[in-house]
């Protein structure tokens, strides 16, 4: 139905030499330092992260461990000081929804399609069935201010999904939501990614979220960000936060973060 959204079509998108259309993400011993007034901020130090095509990797770590920098490297918004980043084209989904307040829900969702030069009517026709699927069918014409936080986050996710990139880089997508909405949205995202598989790198500071959503949890240290350990999550879906296995893995990740329960 939506041919330009699936992975094969976006493989034809223009790519630079180091960004290959394998659908995966390879971040190899990457370091990144920023100048600051008080000296230098060492954001990332020798970080290696791989995501196989279709894999969901969640990255968890304390504030300031360079998670956002990592995502911007994957999206090609920054270049590493050392190491290599090889990734299929990636679309970002920010923590704040960053919807354009003057556009309706459908036009916001269709923004990435319009960015590639698709006409307005075609873009709307492409986005409409998705809004329906995301439970936003009645809100097509609503402005962001008329939507709840969870709805806005769904529109924002759809906008990034419709960018048609094989990789999605999600930057604490639910951190700004209240606890109940956040739990709902995590279940919703897990469901969407089952039917609409993408290579996902999701950074979060919510350990539970990392375990519930990820195929693999990468634990990072505080600044300078280093990978402390990787915890595979070989659990069936759908997962519930109260499942004994989820709780046990959560304990393990917390321990790796240096916060024994």
């Amino acid at each position: 139905m939506v041919a330009h959204v699936d992975m094969s079509a976006s493989g034809a998108a223009p790519q630079t030499g180091e960004r290959q259309g394998t659908g995966g993400v390879h971040v190899e011993r990457v370091s990144r330092t920023f100048p600051s007034r008080t000296g230098e901020i060492h954001a990332l130090d020798g970080v290696t992260l791989r995501a196989a095509p279709g894999e969901i990797v969640t990255v968890v770590g304390p504030s300031g461990c360079g998670k956002t920098t990592l995502l911007e490297l994957i999206c090609g918004l920054q270049a590493p000081d050392a190491g290599t980043v090889v990734s299929a084209p990636a679309a970002l989904m920010p923590q704040r929804d960053l919807l354009l307040p003057w556009l309706s829900a459908i036009d916001n969702a269709a923004l990435a399609l319009r960015a590639r030069g698709m006409g307005r009517d075609d873009a709307r026709a492409t986005a409409a069935p998705w809004l329906e699927r995301f439970g936003l069918g009645e809100f097509e014409r609503a402005r962001p201010a008329e939507l709840s936080g969870g709805m806005r986050q769904r529109v924002s996710f759809l906008r990034s999904l419709l960018a048609g990139k094989p990789v999605l880089a999600l930057d604490e997508p639910f951190a700004a939501l209240d606890a109940i909405t956040r739990a709902e949205m995590q279940g919703w995202l897990a469901q969407v990614l089952t039917s609409e598989p993408r290579t996902v790198v999701l950074v979060t500071h919510d350990v539970e979220e990392a375990v519930v959503l990820g195929d693999r949890v990468v634990v990072m240290s505080a600044r300078p960000g280093r990978v402390v350990c990787e915890v595979p999550v070989a659990l069936a879906r759908p997962r519930r936060r109260t499942d004994a296995d989820v709780v046990a893995l959560r304990e393990r990740v917390l321990e790796a973060l240096g916060m024994p329960a």
Binding site: C75, R96, L100, L111, R116, G149, S160, K165, L177, D178
Partner: protein
């Protein structure tokens, strides 16, 4: 639109106490009236409010025809200023060299006394509407440039990054994201500009004109028709208030998002 929504839209229902404002205005007029009536000032220098009110009524035809001339100059002048300011602010936003080069000239342009500039413009452009438009646009345009630039600068850098990951071309980012974000700034600057535009119109007409409220003012003083000169100023003030309110209304209708809290508190 009901009366109360109109008042809300004009921004007059909140922050303005109408009975209070009326009492204050009447009290000030009363003091002024008593001061002149009791011989505190020569009515040829400072006319009493009743004389000004009388002139507003008796000279209404004269005031109205001259008002139309000035109103046209001011509205067109502000339009020219808004378009020019938006164009310059866009160029300054896009090109840092334009921005750096423009600031000193921009600021210097605002320090030129209009009475010095206006005769030169009349010499070059004649007695028609053109020199008035130039003066009004010149005095109006600075505030619009400043607030529009602030609007461009306030665009969330994360939003621009997001558009880049969508491969949105730079030009499209400008038209679809940055320009709409800057529109509330254009309105703010234009509202500030209304006040100086009216003053600019008076100076421009004094330098050479055969109609307009500034011309009427200039003609009335030597004829010792001081009350008429004051009546012209009252009309100018009311016009500025009306323009300001109209712009506020247009702003609410054009950029409603700039007034709404973006979403609910739980976001």
């Amino acid at each position: 639109m009901s009366r109360s929504t109109l008042r809300t839209a004009l921004g007059l229902s909140r922050g303005v106490s109408w009975p209070g404002a009326l009492v204050l205005i009447l009290a000030l007029l009363g003091v002024w009236e008593l001061y002149v009536d009791l011989g505190g000032a020569d009515p040829l220098i400072l006319p009493a409010p009743h004389a000004v009110a009388q002139s507003l009524f008796e000279d209404r035809g004269l005031l109205w025809s001259n008002f139309l001339v000035t109103a046209e100059e001011v509205v067109l002048g502000i339009l020219v200023a808004a378009v020019a300011a938006l164009a310059l602010a866009s160029a300054m936003h896009f090109f840092i060299t334009v921005r750096r080069a423009s600031w000193p000239v921009l600021i210097a342009s605002q320090t030129i006394p209009i009475p010095m500039l206006a005769p030169v413009l009349v010499l070059w452009l004649g007695f028609g509407i053109l020199p008035k438009l130039v003066v009004i646009a010149l005095v109006s345009f600075f505030s619009i440039v400043v607030t529009t630039l602030a609007g461009f600068a306030a665009v969330d850098p994360d939003l621009i990054k997001l558009m880049r990951t969508f491969d949105m071309p730079r030009r499209r980012v400008f038209w679809s994201v940055e320009l709409p974000s800057a529109l509330p700034g254009v309105f703010t600057g234009t509202k500030i500009a209304v006040i100086v535009a009216v003053i600019g119109a008076v100076f421009a007409e004094q330098a050479g004109a055969n109609s307009g409220l500034g011309y009427l003012f200039e003609q009335s003083i030597p004829q010792l028709l001081t009350a008429r000169a004051y009546a012209a100023v009252v009309v100018l003030s009311l016009f500025a208030i009306a323009l300001f309110a109209l712009l506020t209304l247009a702003e609410r209708l054009t950029v409603p998002w700039a007034y709404q809290p973006i979403g609910d508190p739980s976001r």
